[in-house]
């Protein structure tokens, strides 16, 4: 499996990253060398082995559905780079 610069560009779009030409070339080489390193996992037969997604067997931790104090509007908006009318402001999404 060898990644092409075009595939790297597609992954960058999925990841919402913008790469310069130089970055695209460098990442293509580096990602290929990392993916090559991953190939050794193929040697292992893992048929029937469950995948481990977490180290502790805890599931479905719930709390009572009761209101609790939370951040104020001012606090929640306090770090936003752009805001208007008590909302986060973003570039136009709908034409």
């Amino acid at each position: 499996m060898r990644l092409t610069p075009e595939e790297v560009e597609h992954v960058a779009l999925l990841a919402r990253l913008e790469l310069t030409e130089e970055e695209r070339e460098r990442f293509t080489t580096q990602l290929n060398s990392i993916l090559e390193h991953f190939e050794q996992l193929r040697q292992l037969d893992t048929t029937g082995v469950p995948a481990m997604s977490h180290a502790v067997a805890i599931s479905n931790v719930f709390r009572d559905d009761a209101p609790e104090p939370s951040l104020s509007r001012e606090q929640a908006l306090g770090n936003s780079p752009d805001q208007a009318s008590n909302c986060f402001r973003v570039p136009r999404v709908i034409e």
């Binding site: 580096q30 390193h37 770090n79 936003s80």
Partner: protein, 508 residues
């Protein structure tokens, strides 16, 4: 001149005794450590941000409490360095990244709140690899931290600022985080003690996420007793972290006994030799000598093989970037942090320019890698396969722990490497975590303690790995070993080093 009698060179437990006996005030202690920071920061750069005003308020508060005759917590008045990954109310928190420049959290991480309750004094935010992705602290957007034992070398990473600060007595204790070795490896490179607890033992609430199934909080200290005291402050259930373990917390200092009688210790073959390549000779020798010492202290030692550890690196570098690519999707220039100032025509372009400007090369590389391995058509070959091998690694550990109470080996295959040596070769950099990663994959507690020095005078760390919630056994063995040695008492002399360097430069 710096020496063992300087206030800043003492341990937290020694200073706590002096504070309790009123032989020193919290303010005097702070002033001593601040003097050290002023003297050293230009050479070391352990800190991203210093919070002197806050520290003075906190120290004065402790002194007032004591003057009123209040019973104060054991570590009240002890100055602490905080990795810049912890959300700290009212204090800029950047995670070493441009994308979070200027972010001032409106709340405290659970462990930060615990430290405040216990009266610890906040010196500032320590340097780190951006989003904790790295093994050398060279990936910080705020510049490199130097190793106090040799300024031309890295302090390790990602908690390199915290480890360097403690090693140089720019802090008495510090906090790091460990996703693949980020507490233990810098502790080893800097000759101090670092502990990563069992996954879930310490709450991750308010810790900026990297790889959520692996991330853990851990203390970095000057000796094992300080480490146990810090764990007493940090451990415990927190309902705000749904992976937090709801089990009673022991007094970890009660486990500290100066013998290792009856402990069964296994030296892990794959820690000494990954895929047939051995660790550096001096590192191997120091670790074998440490095992022999444990035997003298009453432990039963033997070698053990955990064959699937030979796959730790590919498993980790699939799982961690996959989780990171998802966790870091939140940095979109909308709710907090950096947003591009360039003109954009739509929101996707805004996201892409913002993230391009905000993230450094290693973070982008891992986001790309994680996005790719999770993308349609590749999930089974990479992420699912890695999860299955992770199960095999955990099974190897479970089997080994039927025979042994503790597993040991080196923390890293080498001593601290030179600044710039591995920064352009991601795979070589990734291999420096080969001994520490398995404990994260297994969710197991791990620890680094000093066990010797190379011929060049660089620290070597002994790595201990315990059973789930086996912190007490680990601390007991670490304490017994430490008390039989003097490695933890040796002091780094960064000022003399930089003076020597200046003289050398002047001569040249």
């Amino acid at each position: 001149m710096s020496g063992p009698t300087q206030t800043y060179n003492l341990t937290a437990h020694e200073l706590s005794d002096l504070l309790g006996e009123r032989k020193i005030s919290a303010r005097e202690l702070l002033d001593s450590v601040w003097g050290r920071i002023t003297e050293l920061e230009e050479h070391l750069h352990s800190y991203i941000l210093l919070t002197r005003e806050l520290a003075e308020q906190q120290a004065d508060e402790v002194d007032r409490g004591r003057a009123r005759g209040e019973q104060l917590p054991r570590l009240a008045g002890i100055p602490i360095g905080l990795k810049d990954i912890y959300c700290t109310r009212g204090v800029e928190t950047t995670c070493g990244s441009r994308i979070l420049a200027g972010f001032v959290p409106p709340y405290d991480a659970h462990v930060i709140a615990r430290c405040r309750e216990h009266g610890l004094v906040f010196l500032g935010k320590t340097n780190m690899d951006e989003f904790a992705m790295g093994s050398s602290t060279e990936n910080s957007s705020r510049g490199v931290t130097c190793n106090p034992w040799d300024l031309a070398r890295v302090p390790g990473g990602s908690s390199g600022g915290s480890a360097a600060a403690v090693a140089a007595s720019e802090a008495i204790v510090a906090m790091g985080t460990d996703t693949g070795g980020s507490v233990r490896q810098p502790a080893s490179f800097c000759g101090v003690v670092g502990l990563k607890p069992t996954y879930g033992r310490i709450s991750r609430y308010g810790v900026i996420a990297f790889a959520s199934s692996l991330d853990q909080v851990g203390p970095i200290t000057k000796d094992v007793q300080d480490c146990a005291l810090m764990l007493n402050v940090l451990a415990g259930h927190d309902p705000r972290d749904s992976t937090s373990i709801n089990q009673p917390v022991p007094d970890y200092t009660a486990a500290l006994r100066p013998d290792a009688k009856g402990l069964r210790i296994g030296l892990v073959k794959e820690f000494m030799e990954y895929q047939g390549v051995g660790v550096d000779r001096e590192v191997g020798q120091a670790v074998r000598a440490a095992v022999a010492r444990c035997q003298e202290l009453g432990a039963e030692c033997d070698e053990v093989s955990l064959p699937h550890l030979n796959y730790s690196i590919p498993v980790y570098y699939i799982i961690a970037p996959a989780e990171a690519s998802s966790n870091l999707a939140r940095y979109d220039g909308v709710q907090y942090g950096h947003r591009t100032r360039e003109r954009v025509t739509d929101i996707i372009e805004m996201y892409r320019k913002t993230r391009d400007e905000g993230f450094g090369a290693e973070v982008k590389r891992r986001i790309m890698l994680g996005t790719y391995t999770l993308s349609a058509g590749y999930y089974d070959a990479y992420y699912l396969k890695a999860g299955q091998v992770r199960t095999l690694i955990r099974r190897d550990f479970d089997r080994a722990f039927e025979r042994f109470d503790l597993l040991v080996g080196p923390v890293s295959p080498s001593v601290a490497f030179r600044v710039g040596e591995k920064v352009d070769d991601p795979v070589a950099m990734y291999l420096s975590d080969v001994c520490t990663i398995p404990a994260n994959l297994g969710g197991l507690p791990g620890m680094s303690i000093p066990c010797g020095f190379s011929a060049d005078g660089l620290p070597i760390g002994l790595h201990l790995v315990g059973k789930p919630l086996g912190e007490e056994t680990m601390l007991r063995a670490a304490y017994a070993y430490e008390q039989s040695t003097n490695f933890h008492r040796r002091l780094a002399r960064p000022i003399e080093l930089s003076d020597g360097r200046r003289r050398a430069v002047a001569r040249a």
